[in-house]
């Protein structure tokens, strides 16, 4: 089917009536942050990142594989002058390890001259089966990294109280999981997300809340943004889709649609119907 161009008027509305997403020192136009893991090939990753429209991509810090000279580096496929890199502390189960990994990630990015050197996606896990965060170790690591000058984007569960404590500890952004990492279950508890948004934005409406993890498909992204989240971070839902590039494009569109729907303001849900066509002037009679 031939694609149709949106009308000029609609496009102008969509693109002009939103402010950039501000996270720490960075201003972003795209509301999607995408991961770079789990792709079958680095070429597929590169093309999917491009199709997602994301400006920020997450990366992990791991041992350099010595002696394995055939191995290409991921940076051969991500132009660090084009993307803002967000290093994570994935795989850390203790605060001290997360702090070490954050420092090493910062050093790589600093030496690359990538502006992502000033931030980190903090992830301190409590359990390898659920990959749920350890809230106590996360808070401890968050406090330490903030003290070291990091802008901490903090992966957490959807617990509103923990989210508030992380914000109080100086996290630049709180990033609640919609559902467990890689589970594709979407946003399991929209009510908790609503409460997190209410608590964290109470006196600080621009405080960024990013839904991180659990996205399964494009509608999950739309739901998160419709609820008022400022952005969505996802990886598996694109990387493990049957057609990752197409899914990346779907995610981009869902992000735009969800954000627009949030800004536009949805109608309230009602139990009974409300007619769209006027009652006045009907030429028929009601049998009941």
């Amino acid at each position: 089917m031939a694609t149709t161009q949106p009308t000029g008027g609609d496009r102008a509305v969509a693109e002009t009536e939103d402010r950039p997403l501000r996270i720490g020192n960075h201003e972003l136009t795209s509301r999607l942050i995408v991961g770079t893991g789990k792709y079958d090939t680095l070429e597929l990753m590169r093309d999917s990142l491009a199709a997602s429209g994301a400006e920020v991509v997450t990366v992990a810090v791991r041992r350099e594989r010595m002696y394995d000279r055939v191995g290409q580096n991921i940076l051969d496929y991500i132009d660090p002058s084009k993307y803002l890199l967000l290093p994570n502390t994935a795989g850390c189960y203790q605060a001290a390890d997360a702090i070490r990994v954050a420092r090493l990630g910062r050093e790589i990015l600093r030496a690359l001259g990538n502006p992502g050197a000033d931030w980190v996606k903090l992830e301190v896990l409590g359990d390898s089966k659920t990959l749920l965060p350890d809230p106590i170790a996360t808070l401890e690591a968050c406090q330490a990294l903030v003290k070291e000058g990091f802008h901490v984007l903090c992966y957490t569960s959807d617990d509103p109280i923990v989210a508030r404590r992380l914000k109080m500890a100086g996290a630049t952004s709180v990033m609640p999981a919609g559902s467990p990492i890689g589970s594709g279950q979407g946003i399991l508890n929209p009510n908790n997300l609503r409460i997190i948004l209410e608590y964290c934005k109470e006196d600080d409406p621009d405080y960024p809340i990013i839904v991180d993890a659990g996205v399964g498909t494009a509608s999950d992204v739309a739901v998160a943004l419709e609820l008022g989240a400022d952005g969505v971070l996802l990886n598996s839902a694109i990387a493990h889709a049957r057609d990752p590039v197409r899914m990346a494009r779907a995610m981009q569109r869902a992000a735009q649609a969800g954000r627009d729907a949030f800004l536009a303001g949805r109608i309230p849900k009602r139990l009974y119907a409300t007619a769209s066509s006027p009652e006045e002037g009907v030429i028929t009679t009601r049998p009941w």
Partner: protein, 86 residues
């Protein structure tokens, strides 16, 4: 920054004695080295210095210091890079 150590091979003088070597832990594996600068150990293993960070005994060694940082017996060295992740 680590104080630079005099070249240990000088202690053994002429007479063609082999340089004394010692062991460091490099990414979890023992490696024999005759000392020298950290950067030489990395270059010997074909590491692309522009995409890595190095930690020695738990402390990050800044890129600018790799040339001058001298290896010490028993050092624990971690060399990391970026990989795909979410």
């Amino acid at each position: 920054m680590q104080p630079s150590m005099s070249n240990p091979s000088s202690d053994f003088g002429g007479r063609g004695a082999p340089s004394p070597s010692f062991t460091v832990q490099l990414n979890g594996a023992p490696v024999e080295t005759s000392g020298g600068a950290l950067i030489d150990l990395l270059r010997d293993r074909g590491v692309r210095v522009e995409v890595i960070a190095v930690e020695v005994n738990g402390e990050v060694v800044p890129r600018e210091s790799l040339e001058t940082h001298r290896l010490q017996p028993g050092d624990t060295i971690e060399v990391v890079t970026l990989v795909g992740g979410g």
